[in-house]
């Protein structure tokens, strides 16, 4: 018989949606028990529009082609000592932050999307999430493989997995993701699928990959290119999720708005480390953090929220504060790491004179006024042989877990501190945004495993900070960290390059 032509939409429906059936022998709510407790109302999963229509055979085929090419480059990279082509050994520290701080998030994304990819009652949404789960597993594994070669020649990569679960500044990205995974399935999708993957990915993933491209890092940038089409799929899924939830029921709108407010604030806090990486750690700059924020958030994000306005969604709360922060956060963060450089898992340094001038040019309203004087002081100290390290442990924000390093945005000489009482205990925050998030769900955020609190409570070994760093964090103090000047990384680099 002459076969009629099936259009892609119908074919995909038959090959996915049509596989599901209505239960007769068990209660479907037992099979999908987590769909209702968040208060989200789904009236009809059939209204879900498949964001991409990939059957498994095509998935295997495309992904295998990408993997083959990617691993051919990895092989060539290590065969030819590709690490010698990075522009400067300082750059490698950005890769260390990526492997210790970001790659384990890809793993959590795999787990989170597997969870919602099992728990959603709608088969269309489920299958899309399952594919993203598999992609995320790809990303963590290919990142480990891309950076495996660096691990052989530089310090600070070797304990990435152990460190991610424990180290003070890594609890910032880690708790961000465990917060999302411990939430209900719909909040997870707004947190990760929409806020993180759709709106913020250009400010997280892209800066690292562009940094790699500008600084001679062939392994990382090739991974970036290879992951690009996966990321594009993830973005369409993130957008479909929010539209679907908003169209399903008007009661969903305030819930979704609350999640958007929360996850944008949490997201901008998380991006502090990217801001610092872009402005201070890339020897060849891509663009300033401020510029990236303006292009990717203010312009692109602004357009998106205009589009979402028809559902009654408004710009995330505290957007006006966030707009001011772009002038400050990268400087405040790098200064904190510079002064705590003995407790970081990577090297720190004073920007070169050219870099200081670049920062002045990119931040005409703030850098010379507030931050250049700090570096001039650090330079004087270093010249006297008195490179400065802070001995105290910083207080952490109960929500974002970043040390209280931020200032009031209208008064950069004044530290920003908030606090609130809950069940007789006082909790401290870096901002109104973080304080609000706590007050919305205090029973969740009192559980935060704050690294500095844990140290004081004796849960991380000790008694000295040095013992904690070497035993509990498994850092090689003085090798993996402190100043890049005189570090084993720098000494080896100079030997490889024949620099006396």
């Amino acid at each position: 018989m002459a076969a009629k032509k099936l259009n892609i939409k119908d074919k995909y429906r038959l090959l996915t949606r049509d596989l599901d059936w209505d239960f007769s022998y068990e209660d479907r709510k037992e099979a999908f028990p987590y769909e209702e407790f968040e208060g989200i109302k789904i009236t009809d999963w059939n209204k879900w529009e498949d964001p991409f229509r990939l059957t498994m055979d095509s998935y295997w085929k495309y992904q295998a082609e990408k993997e083959k090419k990617l691993y051919a480059i990895f092989d060539a990279f290590s065969q030819n000592n590709g690490h010698l082509n990075v522009v400067d050994p300082r750059y490698v520290n950005a890769v260390k932050i990526f492997l210790t701080g970001v790659s384990p998030l890809e793993y959590q994304a795999y787990q989170g999307f597997a969870h919602v990819g099992r728990q959603f009652g709608g088969v269309g949404a489920r299958v899309a999430c399952q594919m993203q789960s598999l992609d995320e597993l790809r990303h963590v594994q290919t990142q480990i493989h891309a950076m495996s070669h660096y691990n052989k020649f530089f310090d600070g990569f070797q304990e990435f997995s152990h460190m991610h679960d424990r180290v003070w500044y890594l609890s910032v990205p880690r708790s961000f993701f465990t917060d999302a995974r411990s939430a209900g399935p719909f909040e997870f999708m707004i947190a990760i699928g929409f806020s993180f993957e759709y709106v913020l990915t250009n400010l997280l993933f892209v800066p690292f990959m562009s940094g790699a491209a500008h600084n001679g890092d062939m392994a990382t940038v090739t991974f970036g290119f290879s992951a690009q089409s996966d990321e594009a799929r993830h973005m369409t899924l993130g957008l479909e999720v929010i539209k679907f939830l908003l169209e399903q029921h008007e009661d969903n709108v305030p819930i979704v708005q609350k999640w958007i407010d929360k996850w944008f604030w949490r997201g901008t806090r998380l991006l502090t480390i990217v801001a610092m990486m872009m402005d201070y750690m890339l020897p060849n700059k891509v663009m300033s953090w401020k510029e990236a924020w303006e292009v990717y958030f203010e312009e692109a994000g602004g357009a998106l929220f205009k589009d979402l306005a028809r559902y009654g969604i408004t710009m995330p709360k505290y957007s006006e504060v966030i707009e001011k922060e772009k002038e400050h956060i990268s400087h405040q963060a790098w200064w904190t790491f510079y002064t705590h450089g003995h407790a970081a898992g990577f090297h720190t340094w004073i920007p070169t004179d050219e870099e200081l001038d670049w920062l002045s040019e990119k931040y005409p309203d703030t850098f010379d006024k507030y931050y250049r004087p700090l570096w001039e002081l650090a330079k004087e100290q270093e010249a006297k042989g008195e490179r400065f390290y802070t001995s105290g442990l910083p207080q952490l924000c109960q929500t974002c877990q970043i040390p209280m390093l931020f200032t009031e945005m209208d008064n950069p000489n004044q530290n920003s501190m908030r606090d609130t009482l809950y069940q007789g205990e006082r909790y401290h925050f870096c901002s109104d945004g973080c304080c609000d998030i706590f007050e919305e769900e205090p029973e969740k955020y009192v559980q935060a495993w704050l690294p500095v609190h844990q140290i004081f409570q004796g849960n991380c070994g000790g008694p000295e900070v040095g013992d904690i760093l070497s035993d509990y964090y498994k850092m090689n103090v003085g090798v993996d960290n402190m100043d890049i000047k005189g570090s084993p990384d720098e000494i080896r680099w100079n030997q490889w390059k024949g620099i006396a």
């Binding site: 018989m1 002459a2 076969a3 099936l6 038959l14 090959l15 996915t16 596989l19 059936w21 209505d22 239960f23 007769s24 022998y25 068990e26 099979a31 407790f37 498994m56 295997w60 295998a64 993997e67 990617l70 691993y71 065969q79 000592n81 384990p104 793993y107 959590q108 787990q111 597997a114 969870h115 990819g117 399952q130 594919m131 789960s133 598999l134 597993l137 790809r138 963590v140 290919t142 495996s148 691990n151 990569f157 070797q158 304990e159 997995s161 152990h162 679960d165 880690r174 708790s175 465990t178 995974r181 411990s182 209900g184 399935p185 955020y445 559980q447 935060a448 495993w449 498994k474 084993p488």
Partner: protein, 328 residues
């Protein structure tokens, strides 16, 4: 003759990541090792899941199976993402050429009408079983412990979606893309007495809480029986009765089964060898689900082949279980 290109050799500072070195010693590691071992978090999760506050996000307590080291579940295929997709891509290439050969030559026209009806009634509804298997494996992947087993469960879950799609395409070939055969097969799945036992089995397993039990009910018990019954014996019956060309369309699932059985058997063997408690737990689960599966499959087996067919499948399953160290 060999030729040797001189490259600059730099002495590495270390061979691999520290957690890999602690497990396997100071030597270069394989990509499977670096992609798998100790990648999943074990401590300091910050928040209890709102959806299961009795557990941590990653928690060994979600199954009755107890392991000293969950990374003992080494995959004999050593699949990480890259090797996994490349293996499946090769297999789908063969499948694709089979399907297009079948369609181009219109081989369906050579297959007797009653055989086609039999395939619609007895083979196509298995796409829903594959869908259940997708859910059960992804369940284990999301709530299981340690990357060694959870990654393999995700690969398996996605494979099952692929299997369901290949089975669906058989229907679309038979009905000339009208999808009538898929609708008909779904009616059998929903209403025909011959399928209700199996549907009840699938629905019950989807609701099982212990992820390892769900893996046992699906991958160990049901899949083993269906593989023997459908993809070996029914396939042979079809070949003997003018439907031999269907084998071209089920070859993917057959090859896939062989490859997957190696992993399933290795998992069972490892869990059994770990402790007597595990062994007893597995035997109890298997005894229970096997009895249910036999009851569910009996009417199907009789219609597919004959009254003996299911027994042959059970013998094959028992042999595999025995080899893995169970029931002896």
């Amino acid at each position: 003759m060999t030729i040797e290109i001189k490259t600059a050799t730099l002495e590495p500072v270390r061979n691999t990541f520290a957690h890999i070195e602690r497990r396997f010693g100071d030597k270069p590691a394989t990509r499977y090792q670096e992609a798998t071992y100790d990648v999943a978090s074990e401590v300091n999760f910050h928040y209890r899941p709102l959806w299961q506050p009795e557990f941590e996000l990653n928690d060994t307590g979600r199954t009755a199976i107890v392991m000293e080291d969950w990374y003992a579940f080494k995959d004999p295929r050593q699949f990480y993402y890259g090797t996994y997709v490349q293996m499946r891509a090769k297999q789908q290439e063969v499948a694709e050429s089979n399907y297009s050969f079948f369609e181009k030559r219109d081989l369906a026209r050579l297959i007797p009408e009653e055989i086609q009806r039999k395939v619609i009634r007895l083979l196509l509804p298995l796409r829903h079983v594959e869908q259940a298997a997708n859910l059960n494996n992804v369940y284990g992947s999301s709530l299981g412990y340690g990357t060694a087993i959870t990654q393999a469960l995700l690969y398996n879950g996605m494979d099952r979606l692929g299997n369901a799609q290949y089975l669906s395409r058989i229907g679309l070939i038979l009905d000339g893309n009208s999808s009538d055969s898929l609708a008909e097969a779904k009616r059998y799945w929903m209403d025909d007495a011959v399928w209700q036992g199996l549907r009840a089995y699938c629905e019950a397993n989807i609701c099982v809480e212990d992820w390892f039990e769900s893996f046992v009910a699906q991958d160990v018990v049901l899949d083993a029986l269906i593989y023997e019954l459908v993809y070996l014996q029914f396939d042979q019956w079809l070949a003997d009765n003018g439907g031999q060309d269907f084998s071209m369309l089920t070859e993917f699932i057959q090859t896939w089964n062989k490859d997957t059985n190696r992993w399933v058997d290795a998992v069972v063997k490892t869990a059994t060898a770990e402790s007597d408690d595990n062994k007893q737990q597995l035997e109890q689960w298997i005894g229970n689900w096997k009895a249910k599966a036999i009851e569910a499959l009996a009417p199907l087996a009789e219609e597919m082949v004959d009254a003996e067919a299911l027994n042959n499948a059970v013998v094959a399953l028992d042999k595999r279980l025995n080899k893995a160290g169970l029931f002896k």
